[in-house]
Symmetry: C2
Subunit: 377 residues, 2 copies
C-alpha cells in the first residue's frame, strides 16, 4: 500500500515495529537505534526508534535529522560486528559553531542505544502480533562484570521471557520494574539498579500494540478518516452494515473491512482499552444500535458523527446515563472548522490522538508547562 | 505526485479548483455540482463542490456519499445538453425507509447547482492562479424572464467580469453583494433579489485561493508537516537556509523548495493574509532572524518549533512587544501529545486549520452551539 509522500520521518511506532518484524522474518541484517535518555530538550523522547537496514535505508527517527548520519554509521557497525553499544550526543552548546554545525536548537544531551536486530526481538514481535503490551529491559551501562551492555529480559503480564541474549539477573529486573512502574503506554526510562557487584543502568521500554480505530459506516466519507488515522499510527478496521459493499478497494486505507450488524460490533472489540470507535453510518437506527452495543464494552471512546441534535435524539432512546457518557464524543472531533471531508478527518484524528495521549486538544501556546512530561524513575 | 489512499472524498478545495482548471485546459467535457443551500443539517456546507468527468470520475463531494449517484447522473446530463440546472434533495424524513434508503441521518434539505464546466469558469481559474479572491454570482432561480438559471457574473476587487455566459443585471449583482457582504473566506449563500420584472435567486459564492504554508528549515522533520499540510489543502513552500540541499525529492510533498536567507523570508510572503509560517530550522540564530523579519510583514501566524524556553530566549533578543505577539504560536501546535514526527505534524496542521477557520481547537463535545455557523443573507 503506498504511503503519502514517503519519508522515513513519516513512520509511526507501528511502521517501525513492522520494520523490525520484517527484518527478522526476512533474516535481513538490520540495526535498531533507540533514544534511551534525554536531558534538557530533545526533538524525540526516550523510546523513539529508528530501524537502519544494511543498505542504509531508514525507518523512523531518533532526532529531527541532525544525528541520523552519525547514528546510521554506528548502526552499520552494529550490523557488521553484532555488538550492542550506546552513544551520547551533547547538543547543549548549540550557540557555538560546534561539531554539529551552527546550533541545533536542541539544548539537550541525548543517549542512544544501537544494536543489531537479532532473535532477542522475537518475543516482542510475537507479543505485538497477539496485541499484548510488553516491557523490554536492557542493560545500557554496567559496572557489574556479570552483566553486559545489551543483556535483555522481556516481561509480559509479569512473566519473564528469555530472548536468546543473555538475560538480566532476575533481581535487577524486579528492582527496575518496581522503581519504574506503572509506566504509561509506550513510556520508556532509564533506571540505575545497585547490585552487590556493581551498578547496572537499565533501559525500561514499554512496547504497546498500536491503537485500533473501528469505523462503523459504509459511505465514502470513511476514506479520509481512515487514511489520516492510518498515517497517525492507528490500525483501522471498517465495519459496514446492512449488506454494504466490502470490497477492499472501496476503503483502501483500511487494514480490514468486515460486514457486520451494529449489535455485533462488540465482537470486533478484542482489546477495549486500545480501541476507539467512530460511528458514521449516517443511519440513525444503525448508529443507535451500535452505540447501545458498544457502551456495553469497556471501549474508551465512541465518537458520534453528526450534529448535537442527533445525540439528543439518541439519548432519549437508549439509557446512556450511568454508562459513562463521557466516553461518548459528540459532536466528534476537535474544533478545527472547515466542512471538507479531509478537514473532518483531521478533526477526528486529532481528537483520537489527544484522547489517546490524554491531552486536551487546545493550543499549546495557551497552555502552561512543558510539552512533554518528563518520566522520572 | 501520488496522494495517500486516493479517494475523491480526500479532495480539498484546492484539488477541486485544480480539477476545474484541468478540465478547462484540456477541453475535456466535465460538470460541476455545487451545494447552494442547506436547510437543517447536512454533511457539507453551501459552496461544497464536486467535479464530475465525462467518464464518471469524481473529485470532491457534495454529501457524505448518499446523493453522489443521483448528482452524477444529472452532471452527465449537463455535460450532454450543456444546460445548468438545480436539484433539491429532501432528506428530512430520514426515519422512514424512504426513497433514499433507511435514513441518512442528515435532517436537511440540500439544494445543488449542476452545470457544465464552460468558459464562464475561465476568470475564476485565472484569478486563482494570481491568488486573488473572487465572488461568483449565479442565478439559480428566476421569475424574471430576462434572467435564466446559470446566468453569471464574477466580481474581483469590486470589478465585474464577463464570463462568456449571459451576465446578471448589474443592479442584481450590486444588490446581492450589498446584502451578503462581507462573506467570510470561501463563504457561500443564496439571496433573493427583487427586480421590477420578478424575483431572482442568486447564489453568491466566494472563492479564495488556498492558504499557503511557508516552512522554514532544511531537515527531514519538515516532511510529515509538509505532507499533512498538503493533504489539508495548503500550498506548501519549503525555504531552506545556509546552502541546505534543495533537491525537490528531499521534500516530496512541497509545491516548491527555495533556498534563501532568513532575513529574506518576507520576499516569499506575497499574500500575507493567506500565509502561515512555521519556523523549524532547529537553529536558534536562523529562527531568530526569520521571526524578526516575518514580524515586519502582515503574516497571520508564525509557529515556532521548540520548547517554551527557546521562545523566552528569542524574546530577549528581539523586540516582540508591540508587534502582535499573538501572531506567534509557541510552542507550535495543538496539544495532542505524542512525540513522533507524524504526531507533531498532526499537531501543527490541526492548529493551522483551527487558526485558518478562526476556531479554538479543543474538543467539540466541550463546546456549546452548532458546529457550523449558518450564514444568513
Amino acid at each position: 500500500m503506498t504511503r503519502p509522500f514517503e519519508s522515513p520521518w513519516g513512520a509511526t511506532k507501528r511502521d517501525v515495529h513492522a520494520a523490525i518484524g520484517d527484518a527478522l522474518a526476512a533474516e535481513e541484517a538490520a540495526a535498531l537505534a533507540t533514544v534511551i535518555d534525554v536531558e534538557g530538550s530533545g526533538y524525540r523522547r526516550p523510546g523513539a526508534k529508528m530501524v537502519v537496514a544494511d543498505d542504509g535505508e531508514l525507518r523512523g527517527s531518533v532526532t529531527a535529522g541532525c544525528l541520523e548520519g552519525s547514528v546510521t554509521d554506528l548502526a552499520r557497525k552494529a550490523i557488521a560486528d553484532g555488538e550492542t553499544r550506546t552513544e551520547t550526543y551533547d547538543l547543549t552548546d548549540d550557540d557555538d559553531a560546534d561539531a554539529w554545525g551552527i546550533g541545533l536548537g536542541c539544548n539537550g544531551v541525548i543517549g542512544v542505544l544501537i544494536e543489531p536486530i537479532d532473535e532477542s526481538f522475537g518475543p516482542v514481535v510475537e507479543g505485538l502480533e497477539k496485541r499484548r503490551s510488553q516491557t523490554v529491559l536492557t542493560a545500557v551501562e554496567s559496572s557489574n562484570l556479570a552483566v553486559r551492555v545489551g543483556d535483555r529480559t522481556v516481561v509480559t503480564d509479569g512473566e519473564f521471557t528469555a530472548t536468546g541474549r543473555s538475560e538480566l539477573p532476575d533481581s535487577v529486573v524486579t528492582d527496575a520494574l518496581d522503581r519504574t512502574e506503572p509506566l504509561p503506554d509506550n513510556g520508556a526510562v532509564c533506571v540505575t539498579v545497585e547490585t552487590d557487584d556493581g551498578a547496572v543502568r537499565v533501559f525500561v521500554d514499554r512496547i504497546d500494540p498500536s491503537p485500533e480505530l473501528l469505523l462503523f459506516g459504509g459511505q465514502e466519507d470513511i476514506n479520509p478518516v481512515a487514511s489520516l488515522a492510518r498515517q497517525a499510527g492507528f490500525r483501522v478496521r471498517v465495519a459496514t452494515a446492512r449488506g454494504a459493499r466490502t470490497e477492499p478497494d472501496r476503503f483502501p486505507a483500511a487494514d480490514e473491512v468486515v460486514s457486520t450488524n451494529p449489535t455485533e460490533l462488540p465482537d470486533l472489540v478484542t482489546v477495549p482499552e486500545q480501541t476507539y470507535a467512530v460511528l458514521m453510518s449516517h443511519n440513525l437506527i444503525d448508529d443507535r444500535l451500535a452505540l447501545d452495543a458498544l457502551l456495553e464494552t469497556n471501549i474508551l471512546y465512541i465518537g458520534l458523527m453528526g450534529p448535537r441534535k442527533r445525540f439528543r435524539e439518541l439519548r432519549e432512546e437508549i439509557d446512556i446515563d450511568g454508562r459513562d457518557a463521557d466516553r461518548i464524543a459528540t459532536p466528534v472531533g476537535l474544533d478545527l472548522g472547515g466542512d471538507e471531508p479531509t478537514a473532518i478527518g483531521f478533526s477526528i484524528v486529532a481528537e483520537l490522538l489527544a484522547v489517546h495521549n490524554d491531552r486536551s486538544g487546545g493550543r499549546l501556546s495557551d497552555r502552561e508547562g512543558p510539552i512533554h512530561e518528563r518520566l522520572e524513575p
